[in-house]
C-alpha cells in the first residue's frame, strides 16, 4: 500500500515543474554578456589611459569587484541575480558577491568570528580548488618545461 521509493523518484520528477530553460539562458546570456562588455570597456579605457596590458587587466578586475561589492551591499546584485542566474554567478562579479555577502551577513557574529571567519564560506572552494589546480599544473609544468624548450 505504501509506495516504493524508486517509483516515488519518478513521480517527483513528473510533479516538479522544470526550470524555464530558454528564459534562464536568455537572461544568463544577456546579463553575463553585458558584464563582460562592461569589463571590455573598462579594459580599453584603462589601456587608453596609458596602463600596461597587465595593469589594465588587474584594474579592470578590481573595478568590477568594487562595483559588485557596492551593488551587493545595496541589495541590487541579489535582485539582478535572482533573474540572471549564471549571468551574475559566472563573471568575477559573482566571486566578489560571494565574498561580500557573507561578510555583510555575519557581521552580527563579530568582526573576527563572523566577518573574518565566514567571509570565504561560499567562495572558498573556488580559491582552494583553483590553487590546487595551479599547484598540479605547476608541478607538471616544471617537468614539461625542459622538454618544451621553454
Amino acid at each position: 500500500m505504501r509506495p516504493d521509493p524508486k517509483k516515488y523518484d519518478e513521480m517527483c520528477k513528473r510533479a516538479s515543474p522544470p526550470s524555464p530553460l530558454l528564459k534562464d539562458c536568455v537572461w544568463a546570456f544577456c546579463i553575463g554578456g553585458a558584464i563582460c562588455l562592461l569589463g571590455e570597456g573598462l579594459r580599453r579605457l584603462y589601456a587608453s589611459m596609458g596602463l600596461t596590458l597587465t595593469d589594465a587587466a588587474t584594474l579592470t578586475s578590481a573595478t568590477l569587484i568594487a562595483l559588485s561589492a557596492v551593488t551587493t551591499a545595496l541589495g541590487w546584485y541579489q535582485k539582478l541575480a535572482a533573474k540572471a542566474g549564471a549571468g551574475t554567478l559566472v563573471p568575477i562579479t559573482g566571486f566578489a558577491n560571494a565574498v561580500v555577502s557573507p561578510a555583510i551577513e555575519f557581521r552580527n557574529e563579530g568582526f573576527v568570528t563572523g566577518v573574518g571567519a565566514k567571509m570565504f564560506i561560499i567562495a572558498g572552494p573556488v580559491i582552494v580548488y583553483g590553487m590546487l589546480a595551479s599547484v598540479a599544473w605547476g608541478v607538471i609544468y616544471y617537468f614539461l618545461r625542459p622538454l618544451m624548450g621553454g
Partner: protein, 118 residues
C-alpha cells in the same frame, strides 16, 4: 569588433553555466569550481590565449579567466623559482582579485547591512 565578441563569448560561457545549473544536479558552487579548474586546464593546454585575444573581456571576466590567471602565474613562478614556484605562483597571481574582494567585503560589512529579499 572585440566588443561584440566580448559580449557574445562572455554570454555563451554564462549560458553553459546556466545549462549546467538547470539540467544537472550540480550546485552553483561545484559549477564555479569546475569553471576555475577548466580555466587552468585550458590555459595549460594553450587554448585560452587565442580565446582571450579574440574575445577580450568575454574570456577574462568569467571565472575561467581567473583559472587562466592562476595557470599563468604558476608558470611564471616555476620558470623563476623552480619546483617551489608551484606553491607560490597561483596565490601571487590571484592576490589582486582575492585581496580586492576581501577588502571590499570588509568595507561592506562596516558600512552595509543585510537586507530582506522580495
Amino acid at each position: 569588433m572585440n566588443f561584440v565578441w566580448a559580449f557574445l563569448v562572455g554570454g555563451a560561457i554564462c549560458v553553459i553555466g546556466q545549462l549546467l545549473i538547470d539540467l544537472t544536479k550540480l550546485t552553483p558552487a561545484r559549477i564555479l569550481v569546475t569553471y576555475v579548474v577548466a580555466g587552468v586546464v585550458l590555459s595549460a593546454l594553450g587554448w585560452y590565449d587565442p580565446l582571450a585575444e579574440f574575445a577580450g573581456a568575454g574570456a577574462t571576466v568569467p571565472l575561467i579567466g581567473f583559472g587562466h590567471l592562476l595557470a599563468q602565474g604558476v608558470m611564471d613562478s616555476v620558470a623563476e623559482s623552480g619546483l617551489l614556484g608551484a606553491l607560490t605562483g597561483g596565490f601571487t597571481a590571484a592576490a589582486g582579485g582575492v585581496t580586492a574582494s576581501l577588502t571590499a567585503g570588509f568595507l561592506a560589512a562596516l558600512l552595509g547591512q543585510s537586507r530582506d529579499q522580495n
